[in-house]
Point group: C2
Chain length 317, copies 2
Amino acid sequence: MPNQYQYVKVFAPASVANVSCGFDVMGLALDHPGDEVVARRTEEPGIQITRVTGENGVLPTSVSENTAGVAVRALLGHLGSDVGIELEVHKKMPLGSGLGSSAASSVGAVVAVNRLLGLPCTSDELLTFAAEGERVACGTPHLDNVAPSLFGGFVFIRSREPQDVIGLDCSKPLFATVVHPQIEIRTEDTRKILRRNIPLQKAVTQWGNIGGLVAGLLKGDYELISRSMQDVIIEPIRSVLIPSFAEVKEAALDAGALGSGISGSGPSIFALSRDNETATAVGKVMQHEYEEIGLDNEVYISPINKEGPRILEEVQL
Amino acid sequence: MPNQYQYVKVFAPASVANVSCGFDVMGLALDHPGDEVVARRTEEPGIQITRVTGENGVLPTSVSENTAGVAVRALLGHLGSDVGIELEVHKKMPLGSGLGSSAASSVGAVVAVNRLLGLPCTSDELLTFAAEGERVACGTPHLDNVAPSLFGGFVFIRSREPQDVIGLDCSKPLFATVVHPQIEIRTEDTRKILRRNIPLQKAVTQWGNIGGLVAGLLKGDYELISRSMQDVIIEPIRSVLIPSFAEVKEAALDAGALGSGISGSGPSIFALSRDNETATAVGKVMQHEYEEIGLDNEVYISPINKEGPRILEEVQL
């Protein structure tokens, strides 16, 4: 029987959804940044969010409006439990940046509470609960941020309904660079501008690249990964919302990145590289493009997180 | 320096293009049936097709109208050679069946001639020449039959232009069953009925399945292969041209097949199974469906061909 805990503090990683060609079906986890979530048992039954720090306190503490609260409520509902739980959410990454901020909070919360209660739920169940957090954050229970944040590594979402998530282990090292220009884009808006219909010919090009990227990762073939990181459907439309997108991407590729694209629905732009040195050089040139036009920005350089969330502290019951 | 030959006879395998969800990007080779092509040096420069046997002699012997002739002409054109070559094409599989008949002839021809001449061309070059044969057969230089016929196994076509073909080695055995109802469908017609635009939502479902199938093959995961063999774009449209398609497919799945769908553009229907016994049982029930409605048919049961074409006979120069 696994231990139960009085107090658990969890780190859950940021994630890059879509990964160029994999709209709605692919995502990867970063080692950092990420959110921290504390779960604590209380006498009084039910869920309370007692603190939300970071991001200027703009996030709600109402359980039904906060992604972490919604996700934990789904978990307790599944268990039929009225255990008393206090949550603290410490945002350590920007909101609305395209780095899976809401997903990290949901994932951190369900992992912390599941551990608190002695691991009653499977990871597949946790994924479902975390996805409920996404539903409140962006209208749809998308898995392409919660799944990588929860499982680590590259994940492929074959199907959301029924939930079918596949890990894509890459035998070769990969490092991510993400530049976040300090503008806000609402995920909702980035969905609205997409076309409902697409040309079959472009869809075929896209699924060629998706299969290529999956094969490239599983075979550890950098060149194939690089050739496959092309999005002919979503990027041409969404990139118009991101200042200097073409210039930043081109600079990243020129500096040696294997590929580059929009992180999730943006505005962050990510790149993948073979090693930390290249990822760092790529970060410099991407940042340079934004400095040229005087746009505040932040750069993250991180290996791919392979383990998912980490337990930072815990106190046994 | 490789040997040169006076005479080479090659077997080139049939193939199943698309493999359910992989429209235009995936194909697999069968161990049998297949075509046989003979190439022989002659004194007189240029290409002649001296014999075409099988399929009631309906195929042209004119070099510019026969896929084998067109493919060999592309090869010699590339070499700038006016060597004299006589071809015989022995059709051992039905035309217009969806089994890559034209591709097998083109592939057999370029492999035979390349060997005759001491292997001057790479396999990637041979692929391009064989694709020229497809252009004359169906209007477009599709690779999803010529690539598996030439390389063997499962192949993934990331891109046709530029040509980027990836082998997908599956560590687990797979057996194909193909039933060919004796009706003729022109590939051209099967293309015409496709919609030029498709809903983005369906495209996402499709690329989920494509990535799943690629991962399932590379991981040797039968269950994932099975879950991924679903085509929501092409099959619902093309299957209306194939009598009893739904019944035949359902019978195959009920008999234990991992998946089933249209072979290429039809009318043949294929299924994949874990072992020869299941593939044989699947063949029986598929055939039974056509016997019920009194439609003549032929059934093929074959392991996946992993080697591509085979040299059957040769005489050194």
